[in-house]
């Protein structure tokens, strides 16, 4: 089938970008979305043009590197899927698709569809960890964890940090990402001691990165490739408010 693409082309962070139209004439329905872009790039390279830059790594939906807006939906129209796992059979011959990078002040465009998501790393570094002495793995049942909590924590831990939530959110808020990390760690016994400090520190870092804040719209939940639920944001709010109530200041005076 033939697919028409309008792709955001921007040579570097400082330069102006624009949408450029391309045609990919021989798309097989078995291709993944990224494979279709590979085909386009081969063609562009043959013609001596600059290939379209896009992030990717595992191509099996687990690393969180890939992602672009497809017709205004993060990771494209299929719910619960990363761009690399989206297959062309979900499109029809002659479809016109607009591809744009994640847009947020905290995610500056590096080139074409590639954005700099290191703001997420800094949020994790601010509090998205458990500061315990590591060593050899403890015995499996040494620390009992209620089944329900273990399940919820695992659901939250499915977050791959792709940034689709930020990209889709009308406020460019990182709340779903942060909520997922806080639920992942805060539901387990090992995560309890730092639970409130973690909430304050991560939220403060997100503000420093100039992410927006949550207004409970739910667009993030709708596009999350790992089906993380809005509930984790309520949990984050709860942890944060409880911490503030107790006068918790987090690290570095936040």
């Amino acid at each position: 089938m033939r697919i028409i693409l309008h792709i955001w082309r921007q040579r570097s962070a400082g330069e102006k970008g624009r949408m450029v139209r391309y045609e990919v004439p021989n798309v097989s329905e078995h291709m993944s979305f990224l494979e279709m872009l590979d085909v386009l790039n081969e063609d562009l390279t043959m013609r001596g043009e600059e290939p379209v830059a896009f992030d990717h790594d595992c191509r099996e939906g687990i690393c969180g590197m890939c992602g672009a807006m497809v017709n205004g939906i993060a990771h494209g129209p299929l719910p619960g899927t990363t761009l690399c796992q989206l297959h062309m059979r979900h499109f029809k011959d002659g479809d016109e698709l607009y591809l744009e990078p994640w847009r947020a002040r905290a995610f500056p465009v590096v080139k074409d569809l590639v954005v700099d998501r290191s703001a997420f790393d800094r949020i994790i570094a601010a509090g998205g960890f458990i500061a315990v002495a590591t060593g050899s793995a403890p015995d499996g049942n040494a620390i009992p964890v209620p089944k329900d909590d273990a399940e919820k924590s695992m659901d939250a831990a499915a977050c791959i940090g792709c940034g689709a939530c930020v990209a889709m959110c009308p406020n460019a808020s990182a709340s779903l990402f942060m909520g997922a990390k806080m639920a992942h760690l805060g539901l387990l016994p090992q995560g309890q001691p730092e639970r409130e400090r973690r909430a304050v520190a991560m939220v403060a870092q997100a503000n420093r990165e100039l992410f927006g804040s949550c207004t409970n719209i739910g667009e993030c939940e709708a596009v999350c490739p790992k089906d993380i639920k809005l509930e984790v944001i309520a949990r984050m709010n709860r942890d944060f408010l409880r911490a503030k109530w107790a006068g918790e200041e987090g690290v570095a005076g936040d």
Partner: protein, 236 residues
């Protein structure tokens, strides 16, 4: 790291500084405003009483000088709530807009999120309506108001409401504002729980449905009065 004794004013400022703190303030002031909206509606529905004097007796009770202190206390609290609610919403809106300086060429939205995405429009229009409403039926700056009694001041609410709503422009604006209030509350009445951290996979969907039903009931109740007047069901 610990709950050391910090100056409470400093603590309140730090609390409000954080977006989640601002949202909590919006949720708490939102609850107060919703409570007022429901109480106000129940008071107004007395216009349907078989005795037209019923609502005037209610107005006389509110205006009774003996009740002046609680009346002004409630007005003061509501005014403070509105000011806090609006201030926080505008501050958050500005921050959130700045978080995406370059927009999308094409952006799709989840259809169910319409009310949520338009809070910053439904809110201020309802706010403008509140000002108009007070000028209309409390101050008397829109149409001259009829009084039953000058001292103590007792307005003839029954007559003022009917004369006001016989004007289709006034009725139209009231109905429009009440539809927007319905949208605002449709989102707001469950959002406020989420904002303060209350969410549960089993109960939150029911809460959303309950908020929607209550928002629609409030709109029906409020809109029924101008409609009843224009239809001639309520008349002098």
């Amino acid at each position: 790291m610990s709950a050391i004794a910090i100056n409470p004013i400093y603590r309140a400022v730090r609390f409000y500084e954080a977006p989640i703190g601002k949202k909590a303030v919006m949720a708490i002031t939102g609850v107060m405003l919703v409570g007022y909206v429901i109480g106000h509606l129940l008071g107004n529905l007395q216009i349907y009483a078989s005795d037209p004097e019923q609502i005037n007796r209610y107005a006389a009770f509110l205006h009774n000088p003996a009740n002046a202190i609680p009346l002004w206390a409630i007005r003061g609290v509501l005014l403070a709530a509105v000011i806090l609610h609006i201030t926080a919403s505008v501050q958050l809106w500005l921050q959130n807009r700045a978080a995406r300086p370059v927009g999308y060429v094409k952006k799709d939205d989840v259809p169910a999120s319409y009310a949520a995405r338009t809070m910053i429009w439904s809110g201020p229009i309802v706010g403008a309506f509140i000002v108009f409403h007070v000028l209309h039926l409390t101050v008397g700056a829109v149409l001259p108001l009829e009084d039953i009694n000058q001292n103590p001041h007792t307005p003839n609410v029954y007559e003022n409401v009917i004369l006001g709503f016989q004007n289709p422009w006034i009725s139209g604006f009231y109905i429009l504002a009440m539809i927007l209030l319905c949208l605002h509350l449709y989102h707001g009445m469950w959002s406020m729980f989420q904002s303060v951290g209350i969410s549960h996979p089993r109960y939150t969907p029911k809460l959303k449905k309950g908020a929607a039903i209550l928002a629609i009931l409030i709109a029906i109740g409020n809109c029924s009065i101008p409609i009843a007047v224009m239809a001639g069901l309520l008349h002098l």
